[in-house]
Amino acid sequence: MTAAHEAASSAEQYRRESEPCSRELRAELARITDDIDDPVIKLRYLRSAIERGGATHIEHVPCGPVRRVLYRLHGLKSLDAVAGDKIGAKSLVARTRARRIVAAGVAGSLLFVPMLLVGLAVQREPVAPTIAPAAPAAPLAVAPADPQPPVEPLPESLPADALGVVPGTIWLADRGPGWELYSNGLRIETTYKVRGEQREYRVHHRDGTLEPDTYSKPAGILFHTSESDLWPLEPDFARQLRRGTVGLLHYLQKEQSYNYLIDRFGRVYRIVDDESRANHAGHSVWARNDDVYLDLNSAFLGVSFESRWDGGRSLPITRAQLIAGRNLTHYLRQRFAIAPEMCVTHGLTSISPRQGLIGYHRDWARGFPFEAFGLPDLYAVPPPSVALFGFGHDDEFLHAIGERWPGLVAAEQALTDEARQRAVPVEAIRRERQALYRDWLMVEERG
């Protein structure tokens, strides 16, 4: 192509119709640009990544995962085009890591190609828990694998399913190496289980006092979505689906991200054991009656669905996930005597203390099927982050969730009413409440 042609082509770039790049490349580029806030830099990057050579031949690579890795490397390499611009730290780290991986890959392939080939020849799929060789089963109806406190009375009875017999209580019905089976049909794969930091938290009261006791038993369940890559739920992608989950499990295990993950086929994996805290909640707030919880990593079990939350406009999980999630919830609620109003979603609790905003993480900020889980609709409850601590929301959040949930409307209305009564701007009330949150947090951290 001559310089003149190139110039002409460049001048036409914003008006000439072109075919979109492949779906996989689009997905990778969109993911990388998530970390670029500036629209101009984002546009510059996308144009560079799409127009530069090298991506077209990747689509002929027959192996999906390899193709995706190559697209990812292509996308990260294209960050060079905006190297002088302000791009997110996540992208910079990813780019640096990608370079290291490429360098290590080249060096490795030069030095260890024969070994690698031999290794690949004998490599087997990781032994999936479901096809684990049968081991002598433990006696039925014994205590679960982990020591646990005696079951406390439930705050209310579990809802009966519409069809079939449901056992009145849930017990460990069978177990084998790497799995546990419970009487309600729940099967927990335990091969990825790790022990984390001891669960320890304290509880505030609404009057501002901090309970002196430290608790170690989970008081609630926080539902998440993994926001990981999703392959189509079709037989042609069986291998990618399986490998995607295994990759996700290794990552979650390393980061100790959740206590449980439910994959798209409804398999439940225990990742961080129930006695340990997982890093799932970030800055989050929830309350029940007089008790206020600020450290949800410790106070709540993190249960994540392998899925991507899409704004709550549709249910982003499979039927198998829903059934498994419900069984797991019943089991955890019974085991730890968790109140139904303490089973909440990450999107309802997450905050950004620095920005004074709710919805820092938005998974399940809308659309969690509480009713199908036999739980009360917590979207109708004023979130304590707003009602107690005056956190606000921005347009971006509103755009993501579409409309405010009824509890949020009620909480914000209450703040407005209070402002009117006290004849002060609502922003003053919000500032006052947010200062309260910082004080409480400081007291808890010092304690």
Binding site: Y14, E17, S18, P20, C21, P39, L43, L46, I50
Partner: protein
Amino acid sequence: MDDRNDPGSENSTAAAGSNAGTSSTRTRIGLDVGTSKVVTARGDSTRSDTGTQLNAFFAVPYSSLHESTLQSNRVPFYREGEELVVYGSASEKFAHMFNAEVRRPMARGVLNPSEPAATHVLETLLSTLVPVARSPGEVLAFSVPAASTETGHALTYHEETLKRYVRERGYTPLAVNEGLAVVLAELAKESFTGIGISCGGGMCNVAVSYLSIPSLTFSLAQGGDFIDSAVGEVVREPATRVKAIKEESLDLTRPGGDKIDKALHIYYDKLIESLVEELIRAVTRSQRLPRSDQPLPIVLAGGTARPNGFRERFEKALRRRTLPFQVADVRLASDPLSATARGALVAALAER
């Protein structure tokens, strides 16, 4: 042009001038050359200043009285032979004072072929918004409509005329599809993936974009002017009066009040129905678009999309049909009037 009297342009260029003074980088300008309005955007990716001129003019016979009246009112005009030509935003306001009729340099999105003064007036008007480039290599991105059977060769002439003018002002021109400009302005968070629709005076422009690549563009040769003239005909009122009512008080969420209001509702619905039908037809026909993909957001922009209730009516018309694509949501641009210019500015800023 030497006789040009241009006090009216001060307001438009003041913000841009001050901005230029504080910026050490090269100037970038986004320009929306619409049938009804000309809008510029200058600044950076976080903040832009916009300037607007009505894309209209009128001519009155020269007399010293007329000239002094215009001067004392600080109305921009120039003398062309034995005529005084008043242009820009003041033209609509002052036309009735001189018992003159407002004329348009553009029609249906391109330079008006039946208006002999079109090019001259448009260039004069643009000069109030676009300063001469300070250094070579400065980029000016301007909006162009998508080709349609109605525009034909007139689009080529329109675009080349604008490019020539932009070069004369010292800029490197960059043409940006009008619908895509809306995507660039409003869908950055979605990585510039979605559908941008600019509903202007002369036409509606649509672009389906994936990561800023326009994969489908088309235009519908109907817009605000079509509504004004159609309503004017049935209620026997001048289109200018209909336009004034439309811009000041039309609320599409309420049932139509008087006969003008009712007729406006009817023709707005007709425009929306035509637009949705054309969108579905174009997407169905297109071989370029992925058949199964993620839901796309739709952004509506332009002066014709401004009346309260337009977005809701459009969304209803869309949801009534079986669509060949999934829609995430339908939203109105943050500032519908300047969205195209702001999008063009993003494209200009992205140029190295």
